[in-house]
Amino acid sequence: MKNFIVTPAPHAHSGDSVRKNMLLVIIALLPAYVVSVIEFGWGALITAAISVAACVLTEWLISRYLLKEQRQTIGDFSAVLTGLLLAFNLPSNIDWWIVVVGAIVAIGVGKMTFGGLGQNPFNPALVGRVFLLISFPVQMTTWPLPKGFATSYLDAETGATPLYYLKHMVKTGDLSVMNQLPELRDAFFGVMGGSLGEVCALALIFGGLLLIITRVITWHIPVSIIATVALFAWIGTPEGMESGQYVAYELLSGGLMLGAFFMATDFVTSPMTAWGKIIFGVGIGFIMMVIRTWGAYPEGMSFAILIMNACVPLLNKLRPQRFGEKKK
């Protein structure tokens, strides 16, 4: 009498895996990364390489020697993704050891202390970034100008980002710096100063759409963030400036597109249900605009996402629409 394998149903699987999802996000980030390398040259290559290597190594060391896990999780590529996202959020000319510190904080504090993948309440890459922003404010807010491989890694020519000028205009009503803003077209294609991976809206939107089409993420979070920011900017347009133009600058500068498509949509730290995701996105857009408009920092995307990350357990109390609840 032959005995066969017995397991409970179902006996079929979609073939989806954690690794596949992580790889798809990494692939979706590549167009933006290519633009970054073209804009920032060696700095983009070096910073990303260090960040990814440091994140993977940190996870492996902690898992192997501190937690003494039997099975190592670096093969799921989530640490690679965190490393890449951390690098995307750093100026490309930042000192290599600062990147390493950021990576250790991101993976060590942001992820592994909570029990590894799936357990962390906050987006690890942003934990690392905000730690660096508070610890090394000067280095973290000195952005190289986009000069391609003409930029040397460490002593690059630096300059203010569009967000600095926008804030100046909103706060003081002084529109004389308006000519310092990049052309809208340049902002769209990424020819402007900023963190390594955030400059090219076009490439980021392209990557984001790829994620939506492949069903890695849903539309709810990016759309609600972008819509909220656009609405806020429309209402809060400084006097003397055209609304459409101001909205476009707010949408295309800083970490908005990167944050909306790639950081806020992190599986682990975003809500489960459609309505939860929409409220989450609206919250991020609103908090970010409050910081951009009145806060001490020119950019508020990281803080906005982290604050809303903290609300996720609460947002998960929102139920999905149950079958049979619909009115007849």
């Binding site: 017995v6 079929a12 699987h13 979609s14 895996s17 993948l117 799936g118 730290t269 049979g324």
Partner: protein
């Protein structure tokens, strides 16, 4: 094209192995094993004794309660034993063992293939005939059909929904039945419409069976009130509540029966059985089973008398493939893996046998939940599988009840879709059983207090 509105997944349908294979009759066994539980509800009670000679169609066991079903003899011969028997999943029960002698049928059964179109019976008589024939839902749930046809007081059926969806991957028995016995099914539908007093019937068929849709549409043209509705492919469309939603856009509320929204659902195989019982006096003694799998020599659709050991059915299909790791009774989404094939008969509950190669039989190792929410998106009942599974592990019964665990239909969409290969249902099933027991206790206590 219509479909249901919440959740659902798209497994590969894998019907190509046995699709369009003509129905082949399986030879009679030497000995038949007739389990007394082949339906949901109370076990049937044997009315024959050891040594009795029985004919095909004779009553062997009568319904053991309101929700129960008769069992009629699928073979002729001598009853040699009535006693303990264990099914292929290890569940103990009772069965009647019959040594088969010849193939002698009760005289009133019409065995000719001629169509019997006229039905002059009153609704009550139709339902009585269905009950006598021991007909249960052949789509999988095995709920006694006559019970469904007696709506509770104050409720009225408006529409009969005919389930020709066959959403389980691999299975093709209903598809083939529609192609070969469409006319009988049409007559069966009209009989049911009469029994229910409804003017409208909708046959829901998924779009991966285009020939069945066309065939049934052609037949429906000459039948007033019967329409064929092609449905967009999505699992679990054959679930009763999902099918009603897809066909008439009404959602049966939590805990309620389809009659709440005026619908009665029956599977095409059940309706074929109703035709045979009412028009041909033939009780439910056989069904079409799909025997299939990637490496099965002769995958196909077999007409099998109940009681036939499945080993003999498997032999018809060319035997157990060498690399088989798992044998599933039913389809891959909701079917149950069998430990062994010995001493297991074909019966009302078994819609098919699926042989999975070893490589597809082992579940992948679980990883951490990444909270992606894909299980929530996939759940056709709008539940939160990740949460139910966790709450079950923590034995938080009250929370489980609040989160509507009793609405779970066991369809497997959450496990199917989970990228971390979490075995969510392994947690949810025991939780559902426990909460169900608590609810029953509470209801009993409330009833006792009333007294």
């Amino acid at each position: 094209m219509k479909t249901f509105h919440i959740g659902g997944v798209h497994p590969r349908d894998n019907k190509q192995f046995s699709a369009h294979q003509p129905i082949v009759e399986c030879p009679l066994p030497k000995q038949a094993i007739i389990p007394l539980v082949q339906h949901i509800g109370a076990p049937a009670q044997a009315v024959v004794e050891v040594g009795a000679k029985v004919k095909v169609g004779e009553l062997l066991a009568k319904a053991g309660g309101f929700v129960s079903a008769n069992i009629c003899s699928p073979v002729s011969g001598t009853v040699i034993k009535i006693g303990d028997w264990t099914d292929a999943w290890g569940a103990p029960g009772q069965a009647i063992f019959i040594d088969v002698e010849g193939d002698e049928w009760l005289p009133e059964i019409d065995r000719t293939p001629d169509l019997a179109r006229q039905c002059t019976l009153e609704p009550k008589a139709i339902i009585d005939k269905i009950a006598a024939a021991g007909i249960v839902g052949l789509g999988g749930a095995c709920f006694p059909t006559h019970v469904k046809l007696l709506p509770p007081p104050g409720k009225k059926a408006e529409v009969l929904i005919v389930n020709g969806v066959e959403c389980e991957p691999y299975l093709t028995c209903d598809h083939q039945l529609m192609l070969e016995h469409g006319e009988e099914i049409m007559i069966g539908i009209k009989i049911l419409m009469k029994a229910l007093g409804v003017q409208r019937a909708i046959i829901g068929i998924e779009n991966n069976k285009k020939d069945a849709i066309e065939h049934m549409q052609k037949l429906a043209q000459s039948n007033l009130g019967i329409e064929v509705l092609p449905l967009r492919l999505k699992y679990p469309q054959g679930g009763e509540k999902q099918l009603i939603d897809a066909c008439i856009g009404r959602q049966v509320p939590s805990g309620a029966l389809p009659i709440e929204v005026g619908a009665v659902v029956d599977n095409v195989a059940t309706i074929f059985a109703i035709y045979e019982a009412v028009q041909k006096n033939k009780p439910l003694i056989s069904r079409v089973m799909t025997v299939t799998g990637r490496h099965v020599a002769k995958p196909g659709n077999y007409l099998v008398r109940f009681g036939t050991p499945i080993e003999e059915v498997i032999a018809q299909a060319g035997g157990v493939p060498a690399d088989t790791g798992k044998i599933i009774g039913g389809g891959p989404m909701m079917g149950r893996a069998m430990d062994h094939v010995e001493n297991m008969p074909a019966n009302k509950r078994l819609s098919g046998l699926l042989f999975l190669p070893e490589a597809e039989s082992v579940r992948k190792e679980e990883e951490n939940c990444i909270r992606c929410g894909k299980c929530v998106q996939a759940c056709p009942m709008g539940l939160e599988p990740y949460l139910l599974s966790r709450l079950s592990e923590l034995e938080m019964w009250e929370e489980l009840e609040k989160h509507d665990i009793m609405d779970c239909i066991d369809c497997g969409c959450c496990v199917f879709t989970c990228p971390a290969h979490r075995r969510l249902l392994d947690g949810i099933r025991p939780g559902k059983a426990k909460v169900g027991a608590i609810l029953r206790e509470r209801a009993a206590a409330a009833a006792a207090e009333k007294k």
